[in-house]
Symmetry: C2
C-alpha cells in the first residue's frame, strides 16, 4: 500500500460516505471504504420494508457493486473499534488501516434517552435487520389474533403503538393503517383487521414539528382517515413486554400493545464519541461530533465528519437536520476539499442548499415543503415518489421499486410480507 498515493479512509457507506467516495474516486487517490454491513441502504424507504411493501434487496445495493467501476476504491466489511489520530490509524480490532484523510460518516442509531432496556420491546427503525423484525412482529400479531379466543388478548395483539411523531413515525403509522384497513382485510376470517388500533404517541404539541403547522395538520387528518389515533403531549414513562406506560395531561395510563415501534429520536453512532475523545473534543447531547465550517474537526484538518453524525452550525435555526440531502451534499463537499488540497489550494466552507422536506401518509398522500411551495395530498405523494425513485442508487433497484409500487398502488397488495417459519416454540 506504500505507493505514495494520498490515502483516504471513509468509515460508513451511507449517503455521506457513498457520495464522498463517488466524487473522490480517481486513479490518483487510494480510497478504502469501511462499513460493518456490505450494502448501502436507502434509508428513507426503510419503513416500506418494515411494513411489507418492499423487500430488503429493493432498497439496498452491495457497496462493492456500487464502487466496482471506480478506480482505486477498496471496500472492507468490518467493525471499526477506534481511532489513533496521532498515528492516523483506523482501528479494526487487532488490525489497523492508515489514512492521510479520514472521513467519518457512521450515522446514528436509535436514542432511547437513557432507557436502553426498552430496546427489545420497542424496536427502532435504522437497519435492515430492525425493519425485518418490525415486519415480523406486525404480521405475527395479526396471525396470533386470528386464532386467539380471549378478547382482551386479541385486543392487545391488535394494538400497535408507534412512539415519535417525526417523519418516520408518521410514515410507519400510516403504513400500518393501510395494511390493516386495506391490504389484510380480506385475508383473515376470524378477526376484522380494520379494528386494529394504531396509536401514534408524541411528547410534543403536534406531529412533524419540522414542518409548517398547516402541513402537519393535514398529515394528522390523513392519519386519522387511515385509522391512526394521534396522541400528542404524551410522554412515555415505561415500556414492558406488551405494555406502554404514558404520562398524559390527565395522569398515567397503560396501553396494552403487542407491537411497539420506536421512532422517537436518534443519537450519533458510538464511533463519533470514540473519534471525539481521541481528538480531545466532546460530542453534544445527541452524540454528534461538532464540526467547523468546512466539515473538519477542530485541530484536525485531515479529519472530516459528515452526515447525521456531524453537528454542523448553530445559527440561524440550530444545527443542520439529519437528512439524506445534507449528508449527500457534505459528501460531495469533502471530495471537493480533498481534491483542492491535493492541488495545493485551501479548503472552503460548506453551504447547505435546502431543497425542502417531505413525509408520506399512507399510500396516496404526502406532505411536501419545498420552501417555495407547500403541497399536501396526491400531488405531494407523486412528487415524493418521483424524488425518491430518482435518488435510488442502482438503476435496477429503481426500475423494480417502481414496478412494485405501481403494482401495490393499484392492488393495495404487499407482496413482501414474508414471515419466517415458526420453530418448535411456535
Amino acid at each position: 500500500m506504500a505507493n505514495g498515493k494520498h490515502k483516504v479512509v471513509v468509515v460508513g457507506g451511507g449517503f455521506g460516505g457513498l457520495h464522498a467516495v463517488k466524487h473522490l474516486a480517481c486513479g490518483a487517490i487510494d480510497i478504502t471504504v469501511i462499513d460493518r454491513s456490505s450494502h448501502h441502504l436507502f434509508q428513507p424507504l426503510l419503513y416500506q420494508v418494515a411494513t411489507g411493501g418492499l423487500s430488503s434487496a429493493n432498497i439496498t445495493a452491495p457497496l462493492r457493486a456500487v464502487f466496482s467501476g471506480l478506480a482505486g476504491v477498496k471496500v472492507r466489511r468490518g467493525l471499526v473499534t477506534g481511532f489513533d489520530v496521532e498515528k492516523r490509524l483506523v482501528l479494526l480490532g487487532h488490525d489497523a488501516v492508515p489514512y492521510d484523510t479520514l472521513v467519518l460518516a457512521a450515522g446514528t442509531e436509535s436514542n432511547y434517552f437513557g432507557h436502553d432496556e426498552w430496546k427489545n420491546e420497542a424496536v427502532g427503525l435504522k437497519t435492515i435487520e430492525e425493519a425485518d423484525e418490525i415486519r415480523r412482529r406486525i404480521l405475527l400479531a395479526f396471525e396470533r389474533a386470528e386464532w386467539e379466543p380471549d378478547e382482551a388478548r386479541r385486543r392487545m395483539l391488535l394494538t400497535f403503538v408507534v412512539v415519535g411523531g417525526g417523519p418516520t413515525g408518521v410514515e410507519v403509522a400510516g403504513a400500518i393503517g393501510e395494511i390493516s384497513r386495506a391490504t389484510l382485510r380480506r385475508d383473515f376470517r376470524n378477526i376484522d383487521t380494520a379494528l386494529a388500533r394504531i396509536i401514534l404517541l408524541d411528547a410534543g404539541k403536534r406531529v412533524l414539528p419540522a414542518f409548517p403547522e398547516s402541513l402537519a395538520a393535514k398529515a394528522s387528518a390523513g392519519l386519522a382517515r387511515l385509522g391512526v389515533t394521534v396522541r400528542t403531549g404524551c410522554v412515555v414513562k415505561g415500556i414492558e413486554p406488551n405494555r406502554v406506560v404514558v404520562a398524559a395531561r390527565d395522569g398515567e395510563e397503560v396501553i396494552e400493545a403487542s407491537t411497539i415501534i420506536w421512532a422517537a429520536g436518534m443519537r450519533g453512532s458510538s464511533l463519533g464519541k470514540a473519534l471525539a475523545s481521541a481528538a480531545g473534543l466532546a460530542v453534544d447531547s445527541q452524540g454528534r461530533v461538532p464540526v467547523q465550517g468546512d466539515c473538519t474537526v477542530a485541530g484536525h484538518p485531515e479529519i472530516f465528519v459528515i452526515g447525521d453524525l456531524a453537528r454542523f452550525g448553530a445559527d440561524p435555526g440550530g444545527p443542520l437536520p439529519a437528512l439524506a440531502p445534507v449528508a449527500i451534499q457534505q459528501g460531495h463537499h469533502v471530495a471537493r476539499v480533498v481534491r483542492r488540497r491535493l492541488a495545493g489550494r485551501g479548503s472552503h466552507p460548506f453551504r447547505y442548499r435546502d431543497g425542502g422536506i417531505m413525509a408520506t401518509v399512507g399510500r396516496s398522500m404526502a406532505v411536501v415543503d419545498l420552501r417555495f411551495v407547500r403541497l399536501a395530498g396526491l400531488v405531494a405523494w407523486l412528487a415524493w415518489l418521483f424524488i425518491h425513485i430518482m435518488y435510488l442508487v442502482e438503476f435496477e433497484a429503481r426500475i423494480l421499486v417502481l414496478v412494485q409500487w405501481v403494482w401495490n398502488y393499484f392492488t393495495r397488495n404487499r407482496s413482501a410480507r414474508l414471515l419466517s417459519s415458526c420453530g418448535p416454540e411456535h
Copy 2:
C-alpha cells in the same frame, strides 16, 4: 364450527396443499390450511435466492393472500405435533383441529443419512431460511478472502463444495460458478474471484441420474465451462468445520472448504412418520408414507398423503419422483375425489401425466427432457425460464421475477446479494 359442513384440513402449503385447496374451495366445504410458515414457497427457484439472484419475496406468496378470494378457506400458521386418527384430529400442542378429510402434504427435509451432526456445516436447501444462510456464507467467504493475508486460508475460503449431483446440486454449483466467474469479478481488488474452486461431489457414476445420459454429459460440460469441478464416485465420509472428508477410488482425501452445501438427498417430514404410526403403518426408508392408488392411506379412506411425502406406486420404474408437477396433479386429484364423494360417488385412481424434467446450468444453459424431445443449451434454458415463470403463483411475483431475470441476464448482476451487518464478533 359445528355448521354441518364437510371439514377438510390440509397440512402444508406447498405445491400439493396449495392446489388441493384451490380446486376444493367452494362455500360448501370448510377448509383449514395449516403450515408452519406463512407463505407458499416456489421451491424450484430457491437456489436463485441462495445465490443472490432473487429475493425471498420474489419466490414466496403469503398463503393468506393466495387464498383470500376463496370462500370457506382458513389459514392457520402453526406447528402440527401429531394426529389422532380415531377421533379425526390434527394436534397442535394443546390445541386440536377436527377433520372429516385430512390431506397431509408436509413435504420433505434434507436427508443426512444418519449424520445429522453434519447439518450445521453442510446447509441444506429446503427453506427460505436455509437459502438465506447459504447466501450469507457464500458472500462472506469472498469478503473474508479479500482481506485474508494467509494463502492457505484464502484458498480454503475460496473453496465451495456442493454435495449431491441431482438438479439442485447442479443448479447451485452452476450459479456459484456464474457468481465467481462473472458477477463478482470486478468487485474485489485483492483476490481474483475467478480462481474460486467449486467442487460438485456425487457418490454415483454421473450427475443428473434421472436424466438421459446424453443430457447429463452436456450438463457436466456446461458445469466445467463455469469452472465447476465435477467429481463422481466420491462418497462423503465426514464433514467438520471447513473440511470435507471423501472416500474416492484412490483412498481418503480431505478437501478444505469454507462453504459446504448439502444437496444429497431428501427424507419425508417427521409428520409422515407420526401419521403412519397413528394409522398403524410404516414409512419407507426415505420416510415417505405408502399410499394407495387414489392417494389415500390403507384403512383410512379419509386420509390422503400427497406430494414428496407420499410413496406412490412401485412399478414400473419405482415410486413417483419428488417433483412439483407430481404434487400439483395429486393436489388436483384429491380435490376431485373429495368432491365426488360428497356427491355420493366413489374415488378413482391417480394417474401422473409426465411432462418431463429439467435443470439449469448457469445463466444461459439448461437440460430439458420433455420425453418427446430432449434439449440442451440456450433453447432449453428459455424453455425452462418460460415454464417456471408460468408456474409462479402470484401475478406480481411473475412480472417482477421476469424483470429481474432479464436485467440479470444482460448485466450478469445479482442485486439480491444482501449480507447482514457484522456484529461485535465480526
